[in-house]
């Protein structure tokens, strides 16, 4: 059943092969998954080369031009990538022997090194080097583990599990690093069965939410690619998507705009849930019973709770690499200011940095205007998000002290408030062509003031 679901979710032949191997030989889990990771790297490089992406300034590849030399280059690139990952693990394993400055600031050193590589990639035109930033947060978890002295006795192949995850995903490491995965690894028959059942549940949920998303496309938005709904019913609310009316020139009715922002919130939650459930579902099927990435965020009663439940591993990344370090260092600040600084370091600065690092072109081109056009709206989004989280955390602490519990009506009101907050700030987060901050503020005011 799990295999059928993974096949349905189009996880690819390699994960299917690896997962079936692990299900047959759970004791060989790590070696099978690390072998699959090497296959994933091979696959990525093969697709890049086949996709006619110029990996060298003078290269122009195509499927027709594949020769033994092409294969040799592919194998050489595979060796370079594996050697780079091996170097990262070797550094982590010998962390105590590094110079003092590197031991104190390993993440700063890593990020500085990656930016250097990105600059070299831009100057030289070697596009392949741009992928240096892709595993950066996974390597960051590796170095954090090393800093705590917990990598010396680990094996390279074990680190491949998360450095090149066969379950895919974005630069956000779902399942974090080796330490976290090991803590949640099922090692006896009963816990493996429990983990696989939990994984199955997520894969089924992904299927259900995927169907709901498809239905929404037909019922709410009248999008074209909704075969079954269209064939049975020729009816739709025909609402504009948030992207349409934020990026467009015409302004729909207020009712349509209000409905559109709430539906967009639901849609984005379901999208994140589907992707996360497939990834975490796969991890659980292979025996790593880690936390879900999305857990009922639409039932959250506070902004901070929503943030915790919506995209758990992205929040954890920001908390691990920005929030805690800031909070622990700012012992001089009074409690509220200290919390404020830590929240802004994570939800604002960290959030912005994560996205800029993932799309660094305007920074590397040193183009301030293009930079602000691209990142200005997200700057406002992160600012509002950080403010909301900070206020929400202060309120949550006060409630905990009072021991107050919400009544049913108050709970519904709280949930509605959370929906409204996140629905409104999405106006600044949605990718909508060239819509500027003032365009988006005009849209926001149109919703709020009517």
């Amino acid at each position: 059943m799990a295999m059928l679901l993974l096949y349905w979710h189009q996880t690819g032949y390699l994960p299917l092969l690896a997962v079936s191997g692990v299900m047959l030989f759970p004791g060989r889990r790590r070696i099978l998954l690390s072998l699959a990771s090497v296959g994933v790297v091979f696959n990525i490089l093969f697709n890049w080369l086949n996709g006619d992406i110029a990996l060298r300034p003078d290269a122009s590849w195509s499927a027709a031009s594949w020769s033994w030399a092409s294969w040799l280059e592919l194998i050489a690139m595979l060796a370079v990538v594996m050697a780079s990952l091996g170097l990262a693990v070797a550094v982590a394993r010998r962390f105590e022997q590094l110079p003092g400055l590197l031991r104190r600031f390993p993440l700063l050193a890593l990020h500085a090194a990656v930016w250097m590589v990105l600059i070299v990639a831009t100057v030289s035109g070697i596009n392949a080097l741009m992928m240096a930033s892709t595993p950066i947060w996974r390597v960051s978890y590796l170095l954090t583990q090393a800093q705590r002295g917990r990598t010396a006795n680990t094996r390279f192949r074990d680190h491949l599990l998360y450095l090149v995850p066969l379950y895919g995903g974005s630069p956000t490491p779902m399942g974090k690093g080796l330490e976290y995965l090991s803590r949640h690894e099922a090692n006896d028959a009963q816990s493996i069965a429990r983990s696989q059942l939990a994984g199955l549940k997520l894969l089924i949920l992904a299927l259900v939410w995927g169907a709901v998303l498809n239905l929404m496309s037909g019922v709410v938005y009248a999008e074209q690619d909704v075969g079954l709904w269209r064939e049975i019913f020729d009816w739709s609310l025909n609402l504009p998507t948030l992207k349409d009316w934020v990026g467009g020139t015409s302004m729909p009715s207020v009712a349509a705009m209000v409905a559109s922002i709430y539906f967009e919130l639901i849609r984005s939650v379901l999208n994140v849930a589907v992707t996360g459930h497939i990834i975490i579902g796969t991890l659980r099927i292979v025996g790593f019973n880690v936390f879900r990435n999305t857990y009922k965020p639409l039932l959250a009663e506070s902004i901070v709770e929503f943030w915790n439940r919506y995209y758990f591993y992205f929040k954890e990344l920001l908390v691990d690499f920005f929030f805690y370090p800031t909070y622990l260092r700012c012992t001089w600040a009074p409690p509220r200011l200290r919390m404020f600084l830590a929240v802004f370091a994570a939800a604002f600065a960290g959030n912005m940095y994560y996205h800029i690092l993932a799309h660094p072109q305007t920074v590397l081109a040193v183009d301030a205007v293009a930079f602000w056009t691209q990142w200005g709206p997200r700057f406002v989004y992160c600012l509002l998000l950080a403010l909301g989280i900070w206020v929400s955390m202060l309120r949550q602490q006060a409630r905990r002290k009072e021991g107050a519990r919400h009544s049913r009506v108050a709970r519904i009101r709280a949930i509605a408030g959370v929906w409204t907050f996140f629905a409104l700030i999405q106006i600044f987060n949605i990718s909508a062509g060239q819509a500027t901050i003032s365009d988006r503020i005009a849209r926001l005011l149109a919703v709020l003031l009517q």
């Binding site: 954090t144 705590r148 803590r183 949640h184 936390f291 901070v304 709770e305 915790n308 929040k315 954890e316 908390v319 691990d320 805690y324 909070y327 622990l328 260092r329 012992t331 409690p335 919390m339 830590a342 955390m393 949550q396 602490q397 905990r400 002290k401 021991g403 519990r405």
Partner: protein
């Protein structure tokens, strides 16, 4: 001092504090000293801040100076170990 033999009052005091910051409706009855409170869903990762604050205020512990990782404070044993570092 070994954490297993940490004063009963210290453990009880800590448990009482943890219950005060736990998620509403959650119960500590089934957890022992080693239980990871975040994994068990009793507290969220932001509640760790309150644990850090508690350790700083009531025990004068500067986590940053001692190189303690906040995630290590997710269990009663981890917190006791931060309070009594020689116990481990």
């Amino acid at each position: 001092m070994n954490n297993a033999t940490a004063p009963v009052t210290q453990r009880e005091q800590l448990r009482e504090f943890l219950e005060s910051i736990a998620r509403p409706g959650s119960s500590f009855s089934g957890c022992n000293d080693e239980t990871n409170l975040i994994d068990a869903g009793l507290i969220d990762s932001f509640a760790l801040i309150q644990i850090i604050f508690f350790l700083e205020q009531s025990h004068g512990i500067k986590l940053h100076e001692r190189g303690i990782d906040p995630q290590d404070l997710a269990s009663i044993a981890g917190i006791l170990s931060a309070i009594n570092p020689t116990g481990r």
